[in-house]
């Protein structure tokens, strides 16, 4: 019995670890692919070299991030079977096709045109190359569409029936794909990806602006453009994201009120005028929030826009169906807190830009630099909120996490978990280091192309290594 429990816990930790690591890369590459398409489009339209510089600059970073996303993604594709085989058997007839569509409509598109995007500018010409860039960007978005459909169905299942053998099957594919939480989760996730990318680009721009100022030299035009574009993007997407997040929350209240209760830290139900708990220390055993700091009435107002509205607490949820409050409660606060800072950055940047002082405000640039990694933290916190808030189910209300796992012995899961931890920290640590090194150089006129940099310089190798060098036709 103890073995079963610990194998399950290890499998959960393994999934959380590998999916968190994986999601960092698409959260960045979804936004970056679109940014690259915009840059190349601007270059084609205006003919200004500075956009091409920026394109090459970010393409090199994109190549590394995308590569890390691909290899960590294959792990996810197989982990459903290796660690969650009971879930795969039962849910396969519903979510399997959605994932097959993701492979067919997105993965092939991305991987097929990535080669052209990275190595083909001289081969295919500008227009076709621009098309390849756009197709890669579209591919990343289509990929998000399908995987979000899968996740959302697990949160708010509909359009299914259960066969005598215990398998779920679809009764209406439209209802399965466009399940109640899907449009909200998709907008929230895509906006999160754009915001994450904008914050990274903005931080790189801010870093070079601050450095150039310190060294008393003029900033590169490319640096100014990327900083301005990024701040513009933050100013637009941060408020939109707050709106999307709020709508997502209202949707969750409708379909998964137990999750909202956990996120809000409401152990007790309120007939009317529920408070909004700002902070506290949740205690699941005693079902109380210790040291809570709360604003009266605001809880009902925020989610239901009505003081008289009743609010469900965890006391209305059967004890065996309650999520552990700490994860969604804290993670939600991290996400919202960072969101407020992003909103502040966007507003401040817009204010400075309106006064024509966007490139002069050192403190705003410092904030932009500091918030560089904030998007990653916020998206991960958001996912932790929604995933731990769904517990103790994999398919909300229908299939328990404990009934989803593979019949594996704890040592097998432990061994693979340790291997993943070591390999991920090493491999993705190195990749992140390469990305940071690239970011530390300012984009300049004559920015080297990704295809040049991808090839190891044969000329720089010792002469004996150049033996066998044959000219290409």
């Amino acid at each position: 019995m103890f073995d079963d429990v610990s194998a399950l816990t290890l499998a959960r930790f393994q999934f959380a670890f590998t999916v968190s690591f994986h999601f960092i890369f698409p959260a960045f590459s979804i936004g970056l692919a679109s940014y690259l398409a915009v840059l190349e489009g601007l270059w084609l339209k205006t003919g200004r070299d500075v956009y091409l510089q920026l394109f090459h600059y970010w393409l090199k970073i994109f190549a590394i991030a995308f590569g890390m996303g691909v290899v960590s993604g294959i792990v996810m594709a197989y982990q459903f079977g290796s660690n969650w085989s009971a879930f795969s058997d039962k849910a396969g007839p519903v979510i399997g096709p959605l994932m097959a569509y993701e492979v067919l409509s997105a993965f092939f598109l991305e991987s097929g045109f990535l080669g052209v995007m990275l190595f083909g500018l001289d081969r295919v010409g500008k227009k076709l190359h621009f098309m390849a860039t756009c197709l890669v960007a579209i591919g990343t978005t289509i990929s998000a569409f399908w995987i979000i459909a899968v996740n959302s169905w697990m949160q708010t299942p509909q359009g299914y029936a259960i066969a005598p053998n215990g398998q779920f099957y679809a009764t209406d594919w439209w209802l399965v794909v466009f399940n109640p939480s899907m449009p909200y989760r998709l907008s929230h996730t895509l906006l999160g990806a754009y915001l994450t990318t904008a914050l990274v680009v903005g931080a790189v721009g801010a870093w070079h602006l601050l450095k150039d100022r310190k060294l008393g030299r003029a900033a590169q035009p490319a640096t100014k453009i990327m900083f301005a574009m990024a701040m513009g993007m933050v100013a637009v997407t941060a408020p939109l994201q707050v709106l999307a997040g709020h709508e997502h929350g209202v949707n969750t209240l409708q379909h998964q009120p137990a999750k909202i209760a956990a996120m809000e830290g409401h152990y007790e139900s309120h007939d009317r005028a529920a408070p909004l708990i700002l902070f506290g220390i949740p205690d699941d055993a005693a079902q109380v929030m210790h040291y809570k700091l709360e604003v009266p009435v605001l809880g009902s107002l925020v989610l239901q826009h009505d003081i008289e509205a009743a609010t469900m607490g965890l006391d209305k949820v059967a004890p065996e169906n309650r999520a552990k409050v700490a994860f969604p409660f804290y993670a939600f606060r991290v996400m919202v807190g960072l969101g407020v800072l992003m909103l502040l950055l966007g507003g401040w940047a817009a204010f400075n830009a309106a006064r024509g002082r966007l490139f002069d405000n050192v403190w705003q640039q410092r904030l932009a630099l500091g918030l560089g990694p904030a998007g990653f933290v916020a998206v991960l916190a958001g996912w932790i909120t929604t995933e731990t808030g769904r517990q103790p189910f994999t398919i909300f209300g229908l299939l328990r996490t404990a009934e989803s796992a593979s019949p594996l012995a704890a040592p097998a899961v432990a061994a693979s978990l340790i291997a993943f931890i070591i390999v991920y920290f090493f491999v993705f640590g190195v990749g992140t280091w390469f990305i940071i090194k690239l970011m530390a150089t300012e984009p300049t006129p004559g920015e080297p192309e990704a295809s040049d940099e991808e090839a190891v310089e044969v000329g720089s190798l010792p002469p004996e290594a150049a033996v066998g060098l044959q000219p290409a036709e």
Binding site: A63, I64, V70, G73, I74, A77, Y78, F80, G81, S82, S85, A86, S88, D89, A91, G92, V94, G96, P97, M99, A100, Y101, E102, V103, L104, F107, F108, L109, S111, F113, G115, V116, L118, F119, G120, R123, A163, G166, Y169, A170, S406, P407, L408, A409, P411, S416, F420, V423, V427, G431, F434, K437, A455, V458, A465, V467, G468, L469, Q470, E473
Partner: protein, 334 residues
Amino acid sequence: MAPDPILTLVWAGIIGVAIFIYVVTDGFDLGIGILFPTMAPGAERETAIATIKPVWDANQTWLVLGGGGVFAAFPLAYAILMPAVYAPLIAMLLGLIFRGVAFKYRARTSRIWLWDFAFFAGSTLAAFAQGVILGAVLQGVKVSGRSYAGGWWDWLSPFSLLTGASVVAAYALLGACWLIWRTEGAVQDHAYRMAWRGGAASIAAIAAVSLATPFLSHDYFSRWFETPGIYFSAPVPILLVITGLLFIRALKRRAEVAPFLLAELLFLLTFIGLGISIFPWAVPGQVTIWQAATAANAQSFMLVGVGLLLPVILGYTAYGYWLFRGKVGAEGYA
């Protein structure tokens, strides 16, 4: 909702095709990784890796379609087999991680030897693990109810180690033949030498696996050595021998494209041979494809996607290969 018997066959075919395309395309990518230590650092290695840089990622995607396809079309088989081959599966994934990032990292590091080693070790580990998985599935797994019932070392046997080594040899052969086609000069000369060795090792491996497989179970035996199975299966070894002889002749004549095509044909024939052994089992001896198949409406829903998208995918994949055609030098595609 029950599966549709005809669509089940169609889906078994689609997944067979996806896995086959994976094996014969990423096979040469991994093969180049396996052969990497035999190549001189510098121009030779740069040329070899430049030939596959624009295509390896798309090749690898067929593995996701193969695995995702089994999940989508035969969820019960996926649920039973993945835990059964847990250790080699994780090994394959880790190998593919190192292989994949090595492409990017080796160009950005001063420790190129480290990522060259990662490229070699990752490719070899992934290839070996794929072979072990094949052997473990062929030799059968314990099943109870709807789940795997064996231990986490059950996959390990002399047979699965043999199939593991065989896949390494066969991928190395593909890699060498690909390089013969796509390079020239010293790189090509080396590839010819490697093709001889890889060819000899592959033929020995095919013979060994072919001889061992029928004795794994009576079911396999009767398909290969008793009537009426032998009428269907006999052409496979005969064609294998002919292809092997043609391959040797092509190498002797220093043909440039023929060795690659004949090596791919060897793969096709062994693949058909495996199909003869396994069909119609999804989990050999335990679960048939009809028992493992997903609901009929899932089969048809996905078939729409395959019908619409697969021709497009094949189209732009072919375009990618055409774009990066011709001989490759150390500076990449000129």
